[in-house]
């Protein structure tokens, strides 16, 4: 049987500015899916975009080219990561007028 773990990166967190998720170690895993649950949102043309970033040490990060669709609705969204080494995070940008999102972000790993 494979090891599986879903990590609560951000729990019901309200954001209105760009942010990055907590550096998460995933060297043991071969599959990774970020689940972004938009529980509430507000503002004009509120948009959230998430980019997958990789790291060698949890301190220095570089985008790996994987970007989410533009998230502008409540509900569950996802972004997958492949070939990611030992660390993962999302770099999230928030756009729109007085835009605000309440997010529940989990990282599902399997290995």
């Amino acid at each position: 049987m494979r090891e599986f773990n879903t990590a609560p990166l951000e729990v019901r967190k309200t954001v209105s500015q760009d942010f990055q998720t907590h550096p998460y170690e995933c060297g043991w895993a071969s599959e990774a899916i970020f689940f972004i649950h938009v529980e509430e949102m507000a503002g004009e043309n509120a948009q959230l975009t998430a980019t997958v970033e990789l790291s060698n040490d949890g301190i220095h990060w570089i985008p790996d080219g994987t970007r989410s669709e533009i998230i502008s609705s409540k509900g569950l969204h996802l972004i997958k990561a492949t070939h990611f080494g030992g660390w993962l995070r999302l770099d999230c940008s928030v756009a729109g007028e007085h835009a605000q999102f309440r997010l529940n972000i989990q990282l599902a790993l399997k290995g």
Partner: protein
């Protein structure tokens, strides 16, 4: 019934009591240890209770290869992975209310399964360090951030036979940047529930509950939730750089019949804490026979700090 149990070689570096409850070696996975979260119970949409200290911002626990920016991967004592607790890079001064995210917390949720009460013991091999992301100043050795770790500890949340109590200990490492490096036991000072909750009335966590988060803190390192162990000073093997971790042994032995501490050991030093009783408080609903081991780390400054746990063994007589 006479039985002979043969175990893995790792057992030889532990000293269990006669019955092993759990033996978790994290190279094989999380083994049921997870991030501590509050209760999601409130209408209309699974909200949490109002509180003076928001508990949803804790950083998630993970399986770590202990990989560092210069030397690469440390691995663990037992293989390549250990359970890692981390804080977010936010902290308050020691005497203030803790900032949400300044703790990393892992626990496993168990219960009593035998009617006898008596000795219970937790042993673990662990290490700790600060994130090696900055050189804090220009003095000699400014690149070592040992002072960034405020404390780490272990506790059991227990509810049994009409009482609730916490049995635990912490290593108070640093208070507002000043090294203290001494062991303390979980016990609540004589204070009100309101004082316990930093002046808030009606807090869910009453006096004697969740000492890691609650209880007034004083600038000299005293804490209404912890009591210094007499002659409890100990310098641990932190090592000479934040990217070197040594595996350290810890043991806490206590008595659930007498409701008191017995021994605390770290590395090769044992502290006799017999006769020091737990703080007994009224029960909460729905947690009868709760036996939850809990580990935490707290930062002292706006840094991520880490605690790595290679393996844990919980046993009883």
């Amino acid at each position: 019934m006479t039985k002979t149990i043969s175990g893995p070689l790792e057992l030889d570096r532990f000293d269990p009591l006669s019955r092993i409850l759990t033996f978790d070696v994290f190279r094989s996975g999380f083994n049921g240890w997870m991030t501590l979260m509050p209760n999601f119970t409130q209408p209309p949409d699974f909200g949490t209770r109002e509180t003076v200290f928001e508990k949803t911002q804790v950083a998630p626990v993970m399986l770590s290869s202990a990989t560092f920016r210069y030397p690469g991967t440390h691995g663990a004592m037992s293989g390549n992975y250990s359970l890692k607790l981390s804080t977010r890079p936010v902290a308050s001064r020691y005497e203030e209310i803790p900032v949400p995210g300044s703790f990393g917390h892992a626990l496993k949720r168990l219960s009593f399964h035998r009617p006898q009460r008596g000795l219970v013991q937790l042993e673990m091999w662990f290490s700790y360090t600060a994130e090696q992301d900055r050189v804090a100043g220009s003095d000699d050795l400014a690149g070592i951030s040992e002072r960034a770790i405020r404390a780490f500890g272990v506790s059991f949340d227990i509810q049994d036979r009409g009482d609730r109590y916490f049995a635990g200990a912490r290593y108070l490492n640093s208070v507002n940047g000043e090294l203290k490096q001494r062991w303390q036991l979980m016990r609540a000072a004589e204070c009100t529930d309101e004082e316990w909750a930093y002046g808030r009335k009606g807090e869910w966590n009453r006096r004697g509950v969740d000492n890691f988060w609650y209880g007034r803190r004083y600038p000299d390192g005293r804490h209404d939730g912890f009591q210094d162990i007499i002659d409890g000073d100990q310098q641990l093997c932190y090592n000479e750089t934040d990217c070197k971790i040594n595996w350290l042994y810890f043991r806490l032995l206590f008595d659930t019949e007498k409701r008191e501490y017995v021994e605390l050991q770290c590395e090769d030093e044992t502290f006799d804490v017999r006769g020091i009783g737990f703080t007994i408080v009224p029960t909460y609903a729905r947690i009868e026979k709760l036996l939850n081991p809990n580990i935490w780390v707290e930062n002292d400054t706006d840094r991520r700090v880490f605690m790595f746990v290679d393996s844990i063994l919980i046993s009883s007589e």
